[in-house]
Amino acid sequence: MLYIALKMLLEDKTKYLGIITGIALASLIMIQQPGILLSMLTHIYGVVSDVGLPDIWVMDPKVEMIDDSKPMLDTQLYRVRGVQGVDWAVPFYKGGQKALLAGGETVNIQLLGLDDATMIGGPAVMVQGSLEDLRQPDAVILDENSANGRMAGGPGGPGHDLAPIRVGDTFEVNEKTARVVGIAKASQAFDSRPTLYTTYTRAKNYALSERKMLTFILVKAKTDEPAPDVARRITRDTGLAAYTADEFKQKSLDNFLRHSNILVNFGFVVLIGFVVGAAVTGQLFYNFTMENLRYFGVFKAMGASDRLVIGMVLLQAALVGSVGFGIGAGASAAFAMSTKGSGGPSLLLNWQLLAGCGAAVFVMVLGAACISLRKVLTLEPGVVLKG
């Protein structure tokens, strides 16, 4: 009889397509919106993720998040280096500057200054050039997305509206020449600002007006020293704030969420997706069952038990739920693939998100099935003998 239940559903193509479309759209909204949010949130601490080598980030105690720049005196670096358990410590500059492009337009950029000697804090993946090229005069490395997007200018070649920035191109940062010596992959900043890498010394030169320049100190703990212990020791000995990379990511994230309504806004959209999806799906599934109510009565008259009828309705609900969710998740994955690396709004899919949406769809179709089942189970088979 489960075969009959599937046939009844699949052969009623209009209803079937309507129900799975409703579930697919609801799934798409419920996956896509949190996926975009997750992606945006990872951009908040993108720099911390990109700088993989250090274990510990040291900063002014008043810093709340990665974009919260409260520079320290350069002498703090030496104090940190003297703390027990520190293997090495290097300076790291992070600040906002303005770039003047060849075409005359200005762009706000995120400038990162790497330790001159070791280049620690630089991008992990170079598309063109190398980190060593930063040793050349006026050298900077630009992130790939911005080279092709925000920083692009002038007439482009075939397939490009604007000519991307290439190695060898120059522009100005605070009226000082910056020459592109490399293009790198980097996490997009939360506000989509281009990321420009240079040496710590040159970054100080670009940002001359600032008295204190040392934004962060990047620290590696000795092999036998747990990073959290070393971080606590740095705080104790220097009075500076010190966090492991994961702690700093979490702190940045918590601070952002605490001071924005982004969770409420995205949550509201997800809730609307769920409510509208549940209403549309529930209505269509209920209508489908009502249209077949007479036949369920016939089956009951012919000897189908309540258990069998429940199984039939639940199977129909499970099928539309699975197919609708699969289409919605597939469409979300396609969206994620198409926006990956585009520099625009991207989407982060993880198993927790898919499982959460799957659970929401399960609740949705189970609710629809239960409402329909109430009618089916209270149906007297004698109704089919009443003409």
Binding site: I4, A301, M302, G303, L308
Partner: protein
């Protein structure tokens, strides 16, 4: 308790059934006595609202009587629980409905296979048996058609095939010819009689279609919830 004697397929004694309460109470059956022997076609006839449909609902185990006893092949219908009644209906009774009640989204063969599938027969076997049964009613070449592609007479033949496919011992028909023209109605009656009664099974037909009265072996005339008289066909 199972009655092993095959003398009576259906036996009703003092069956009463009412609907509603208080002033809205309607007495549908008022102490009905009826015997249906195996291999006989019994017609329940009478005006609308006289209790015919209620009586076959009680006989078929779809409703339980308020008072009295109704036994089906020796089993007291009112002593069975819901699950046992479902099983009894599934294995013992075939139904033909006035409105055919064929599922429009299923093929004709799938519709006919439904009683077998309810009884747990594997799908390939059920569909094979359904096709054989459709051949028996002259629709062997329309197995994959949808019910709405068939004429009214053909749909009723499909319904008959569905009623007999699982070889029930009793077939209950509710106004099987009322939606059909005289010629088609006659052919449906011939088919029912040959497939059911000819095979030694019992057939109960509720009707007020006088054109088919001559097919009855026995006719129970009902009025106001009672069987007023039972007439036997002239031999």
């Amino acid at each position: 308790m199972m009655d092993t004697s095959n003398e009576v397929a259906v036996r009703c004694r003092g069956v009463t059934k009412s609907f509603g309460v208080g002033a809205a109470c309607t007495q549908a059956l008022r102490g009905v006595d009826l015997d249906v022997p195996p291999g006989e076609l019994v017609m329940l006839v009478g005006p609308s609202g006289c209790g015919k449909t209620t009586l076959i609902s009680v006989i078929a185990g779809i409703m339980t009587p308020d008072e009295g006893q109704c036994t089906l092949f020796g089993r007291d219908v009112s002593s069975l629980d819901k699950r046992e009644l479902s099983r009894l209906r599934g294995q013992t009774i075939g139904f033909v409905f006035q409105a055919f009640n064929l599922v429009p989204t299923l093929s004709v063969a799938q519709n006919v296979a439904v009683p077998l599938l309810i009884n747990g027969v594997p799908r390939p076997l059920a569909l094979e048996r359904a096709r054989e049964c459709l051949s028996d009613v002259g629709l062997g070449d329309r197995c994959e058609a949808k019910p709405l592609d068939l004429s009214g007479g053909q749909q009723q033949r499909v319904a008959i095939a569905r009623a007999v496919v699982h070889r029930p011992r009793l077939v209950v028909c509710d106004e099987p010819t009322s939606a059909l023209d005289h010629k088609t109605g006659a052919s449906i009656m011939e088919m029912l009689k040959s497939l059911v009664v000819g095979d030694g099974k019992s057939l109960i037909i509720v009707t007020h279609d006088q054109r088919i009265f001559n097919y009855a072996d026995r006719m129970a005339h009902m009025d106001d919830g009672r069987i007023e008289s039972v007439t036997h066909a002239a031999t």
